[in-house]
Symmetry: C2
Subunit: 390 residues, 2 copies
């Protein structure tokens, strides 16, 4: 069922989500990397399956930049299936008859966890840019409070792709004793200069929109839809490979026999991008997009450990599997390889799979047989090591 | 000397350029690919050196997307040196003591040739989107009229990079008998799906700016500066390689000791991109940017010849040298290689140089020693074949 947006808001999931919510009051503030305390705050989440008596079968899924907690259930805003339903569910590779799967909306998001669109209790108005910058580590700190709430001492596995993979790395680095196995996919231990550049273009596109109003658009009854759509279009190109674009669209014309000699969408790739931009603004909050991109830009695991990535994993007890895709130019294989080298230097148990595909960065969200096989193999072997019956 | 912009206009060079101008009246309309006649119209140009008595020493330089005719002389809008002064001038590799160098502002441009910012004689107002779409072939047709004006039967060489290279290919394909040698650099025989995608993002950024006013911004005393700056920022990323960005900027912070936990330009790459965007809008017309990007998107030399690129060069007498750069992901080497294959199939004289550099697409505008050596060798050998004394 499609939720009815409230006036001015992107969707009705922001302050009163349909997901379960964990609220942390004044007694449990969150100390942010920005140096301030966030309080109160809330985390919206979904779970699938049942936590076993030993509380040893929990898998935490970390979502990507514009993802959400609806990993294996219908998204209440879009009405679409969960974004990883092909992988996670009853009888699936991550079998919810066997595992207890948790996925929470990241802090700074816009689907029920506290973010810039949430009401600032101090003013009664949406936070906008008054919310402190949220880092990947802050997201993970909030997830830890959720995991504690479930009384889970050690997560069986933490997995995720892209920004989700950054959270996996942060988990395994900061809380290795809480993570039995970690599966970071199509990610990096830091955001590259080119990646920051693309994010900056997106932010400038949002901020250039006069409907952004310095972040206070809700108070003006507006939303910077055009700017956010442009940001999404630019980002979307980076999620696909040149080869995939060529295969899917090439120079094919859109519902036309010939060029129109104008600025309408002549080419299919133009219509496709415009569609991506337009549908995105219906489901995502513009300020949240600014915060999410910033959190990725700020991520630099080596810098947090004196410049040496291996030190981020010193003494790790977590077993790792890293996955990259040959055609991913946003997080090229080299990024995963440098993490593998650091993990080797730290003496970690680590396997690494580079998957040959032309689908680019987005491959991690698709039914990619080799990816599913790699996850299946790693989860299976880790479950045996953890003593989880099949 | 910096020119003083007229109110509303990007620069004073649009209708009354400081460059020499060739005007074509009602007796000499230009038949455009769009199917309409353009009349009257004008071409602004620069020349360097002296045309010899045999009129055999003329080199036509074709500029790129945001380039201009000031290839070897100070740009009147920016006050900066000509964009290829390192290559072209007295005693340079393309020695203007020896060669007669011509460079004209492309049709659709904004530095004196007829473009969307020019006054539409039918209305007395700027054309805006009432100017028909200009194709690469239209640009070349107008250049041919300029070459005819000089009484040059056969150009000794036509050269250019990127969009300039597309014009070189069009020249050699359509007017091979007028081109002794051709030097297309960092270009392709068609714009790829990914390239169209980036251009479409730029156009949507411009059009999303309310100051664009459907292209009639001059009449509102406005210019879509924010949208155009975002477009330029996105495009600029594609001109550089990931390696070059990493080398130049990495994750270095901008004049700061630490992250600011905000949305100011923390990273040098952010300041750099913002600067690129801001300075661009001072020198370029937003509608012209739309027209230039569209002309590149529409370029497909094979499609113009029944789908077989070799047929575009059937019976060619021009001698070719193609140059690509290893780190150019906008026009990767593969694009040049497919042109070389087509030229081979057409029995053309062709050489090909792939230059190993991490400077990306922009390498063609830089002092790249291997590029200059390649141009020097090709021009020298072609000059001997043409019987031009050193």
């Amino acid at each position: 069922m499609m939720a009815v947006p409230r006036p001015g808001r992107t969707n009705s999931e922001i302050d009163a989500p349909s997901s379960p919510v964990l609220r942390f009051g004044a007694d449990k503030p969150l100390k942010l990397d920005a140096g301030t305390l966030l309080s109160p705050f809330q985390i919206a989440y979904q779970t699938y399956g049942t936590l076993n008596d030993a509380r040893s079968n929990a898998i935490l899924v970390c979502h990507a930049l514009t993802g959400d907690q609806h990993v294996a259930s219908t998204n209440p805003v879009t009405g679409k299936p969960g974004w990883w339903e092909a992988l996670i569910g009853p009888g699936r590779i991550i079998d919810t008859n066997r595992f207890f799967v948790i996925c929470s909306n990241v802090l700074g998001g816009c689907l029920g966890s506290t973010g810039p669109a949430s009401t600032n209790p101090a003013t009664g108005k949406p936070y906008g840019l008054d919310l402190p910058i949220i880092t990947i580590r802050d997201m993970v700190r909030a997830q830890l409070m959720l995991v504690d709430h479930f009384g889970i001492e050690k997560l069986f596995c933490v997995l995720g792709g892209s920004m989700g993979g950054m959270q996996v790395l942060e988990w395994a680095s900061t809380y290795t004793e809480r993570v039995f196995s970690a599966l970071p996919i199509a990610t990096g231990a830091r955001h590259s200069s080119q990646n920051i550049a693309f994010h900056e273009v997106g932010r400038q596109a949002v901020m250039a929109d006069p409907d952004w109003h310095g972040g206070k658009y809700f108070e003006h009854g507006k939303r910077p839809e055009k700017g956010l759509a442009v940001a999404r279009m630019a980002a979307h190109i980076t999620y696909l490979s040149e080869a995939a674009l060529h295969r899917k669209f090439g120079r094919n014309l859109q519902d036309r026999e010939a060029l129109t000699f104008g600025f309408d969408a002549d080419f299919q790739i133009e219509s496709y991008l415009r569609h991506q931009g337009m549908t995105f603004v219906d489901r995502f909050d513009a300020n949240s997009y600014l915060y999410m991109t910033r959190s990725m830009d700020y991520f630099d695991l080596a810098a947090d450990h004196g410049g040496r990535l291996a030190d981020a994993f010193a003494g790790t007890k977590t077993r790792f599997c890293l996955v990259s895709f040959t055609s991913d130019w946003l997080f090229p294989t080299e990024e995963s390889r440098s993490i593998v080298h650091a993990l080797n230097a730290a003496g970690a148990s680590v396997s690494f799979v580079e998957i040959d595909t032309d689908r680019g960065h987005d491959a991690f969200l698709l039914e990619e047989p080799e990816l599913f096989a790699a996850i299946n193999g790693f989860i299976g072997s880790a479950a045996r090591a953890r003593g989880l019956s099949a």
